[in-house]
């Protein structure tokens, strides 16, 4: 699916909630429905350590798009991970590299992407971009 459409859908889905609790409950639901990362990829190599929560991220190239799977030990972090995966997975390296995370602000979850929050999410985004760059070089696009 087109990356702009996915972002618009997410903003739309979250816009129906008028208080933070509903928004968080929905985010937690998204986290719970995140497809599990295969256990063989839940390794120390794939770990992104924030001092508050951990994130695992694995990437594979499929038909010139990057497929990400991920997990987190904290459920709120996992909710944001699920949102990021929904946006960035199954996209071409080029699209991933030129897309930013402003949609997170619009959903009203900006605080979770603060570098000082130490939950691993900012590093996760960096890693997503690094994978995209590496695959872009590999497939010579």
């Amino acid at each position: 699916m087109n990356i702009e459409t996915i972002q618009a859908d997410l903003i739309d889905e979250f816009s129906i909630f008028d208080d933070w609790m509903e928004r968080y409950e929905y985010m937690i639901e998204l986290g719970k429905s995140l497809p599990m990362i295969a256990s063989e990829f839940k390794t120390d190599d794939n770990i992104i350590k924030g001092c508050q929560s951990k994130v695992w991220l694995h990437a594979e190239l499929e038909n010139d798009t990057v497929v990400f799977t991920a997990d987190s030990d904290a459920i709120i972090t996992k909710g944001i991970v699920a949102i990021l995966i929904r946006v960035f997975s199954n996209q071409s390296p080029e699209t991933i590299l030129k897309t930013n995370t402003d949609f997170i602000d619009e959903i009203g979850l900006k605080e979770h992407l603060s570098p000082t929050r130490a939950n691993g999410l900012v590093s996760m985004i960096k890693k997503i971009k690094m994978y995209a760059l590496a695959y872009q070089t590999q497939i010579g696009l």
């Binding site: 933070w20 508050q52 951990k54 030990d73 459920i75 709120i76 972090t77």
Partner: protein
């Protein structure tokens, strides 16, 4: 304000009026501040002293003959005496102003670098804050001395049997905190000091977590070094103190070179100033030092006995209420601790818990509390920690418990 405990009845509602920050809201809810072990709030009386300094007599100290400089110097040295009296040090020059506990520890560790060699051992407790581990590791790297750890029992107390055995190694130095920041454990420092001295070891006590709750008497303790931070006891950040016995201050070399700490400078040789200036290079945190003194006056005006009794009541109340939450696990000792509760709720990550209760206006700490070895000991990635101060109320604890229940329901 007089430096003595008052006998007035403890009235938390009146006390709360001294803390303007306690009436603000966070995320649309009244703030409930339960992260006191990280930093305490500042009463208006101390804020006034800070404003007064910058409004009326801001000047560099010990350098000018002009009146402002003299006024600032007098107030700064008065604060030193307030601190001296509070801790019952024998001399005012045994109180060294620092930027905080971390700085104080580094000052001592650095000084010992010239006194230790590869055959020496130093002991550190397993209950330490990172700031009380890393400087000793660095010291051991520099001197090739050996660092040994006094382990914990499963209750979160220090294992005193192993301490006795480790003392047979005749360590040169022992480092232990008075009270653990992660668990609130009160360590048996009197006994540890005596035993350390028995084998000829010096001992440093990290009082960062103790001084907000109790009033240590350094002479009675017969401790060699005692360190603490102003910001944990109603004072500002960036100021703290090192108490050291005079004889140690003569033995240790200065930590930093610079202005204020010299007697005479030529390019051939510099002679150092006397105590305490030998250890106070450069322009210090003048306002911070004065405000630290005011914070100590403020706490004494309430009285440490009253504070300890009330906080104990809060701790018992909170422990009982929190234990009614399904899946609650509280870490550390059950008795013999200060008003700190380090906990997890089964099936809920501490980070999630902290995030949700913050939405409800409640500030608690989550994570490893700069004490990773303790977390490794319990085989957990972190805990949530609620720490109570004399300005907290039982009603706030009720709100905390409701908040935790709500969060657990959302998160499980």
């Amino acid at each position: 304000m007089k430096n003595q405990s008052s006998n007035t009845v403890f009235d938390v509602d009146t006390i709360r009026k001294d803390f303007p920050i306690l009436s603000r809201t966070v995320n649309g809810k009244p703030l409930i501040y339960l992260d006191n072990a990280a930093t305490s709030q500042t009463p208006q009386q101390v804020v006034d002293v800070i404003v007064d300094y910058y409004s009326n007599y801001n000047a560099n100290i010990h350098r000018g003959v002009h009146s402002l400089s003299q006024e600032a110097t007098d107030k700064y040295e008065n604060a030193r005496r307030t601190i001296q009296q509070h801790f019952n040090a024998a001399h005012a020059h045994e109180i060294i102003f620092t930027s905080g506990t971390t700085h104080s520890i580094n000052l001592v560790a650095n000084g010992f670098a010239s006194l230790l060699n590869a055959n020496d051992t130093i002991l550190v407790s397993a209950l330490e804050h990172h700031s009380n581990i890393v400087p000793w590791q660095m010291l051991c790297e520099k001197t090739k001395a050996t660092l040994k750890v006094i382990p914990m029992t499963s209750e979160g107390d220090l294992d005193m049997k192993v301490y006795d055995e480790l003392l047979l190694l005749k360590p040169k130095l022992v480092f232990v905190n008075h009270i653990s920041n992660a668990l609130g454990t009160i360590n048996p420092i009197e006994e540890m000091i005596q035993k350390a001295h028995h084998v000829g070891a010096a001992i440093l006590i990290d009082g960062a977590q103790a001084c907000p709750h109790i009033k240590p008497d350094v002479q009675k303790l017969d401790v060699d070094f005692y360190v603490t931070s102003g910001h944990k006891m109603c004072g500002p950040t960036g100021v703290g103190m090192l108490y050291a016995k005079e004889s140690w201050l003569h033995k240790l070399p200065p930590y930093q070179g610079g202005g204020e700490m010299i007697a005479e400078v030529t390019f051939e040789k510099t002679t150092y100033a006397g105590l305490p200036h030998k250890f106070e290079a450069g322009t210090p945190n003048i306002c911070g030092g004065i405000a630290f003194g005011a914070a100590i006056d403020y706490m004494n005006s309430i009285g440490f006995e009253a504070i300890a009794a009330y906080e104990h009541e809060l701790l018992e109340y909170a422990t009982e209420k929190m234990n009614t939450i399904e899946g609650m696990r509280i870490y550390g000792p059950k008795t013999n601790k200060t008003s700190v509760i380090s906990f997890n709720i089964e099936g809920v990550h501490a980070y999630d818990l902290g995030t949700i209760v913050d939405k409800l206006g409640i500030a608690i700490r989550t994570g490893q509390h700069c004490a990773q070895p303790i977390m490794d000991f319990f085989k957990i990635s972190g805990t949530a920690r609620a720490s109570f101060s004399f300005y907290n109320t039982k009603k706030e604890i009720d709100t905390l418990v409701e908040g935790l229940e709500k969060a657990a329901m959302m998160l499980r």
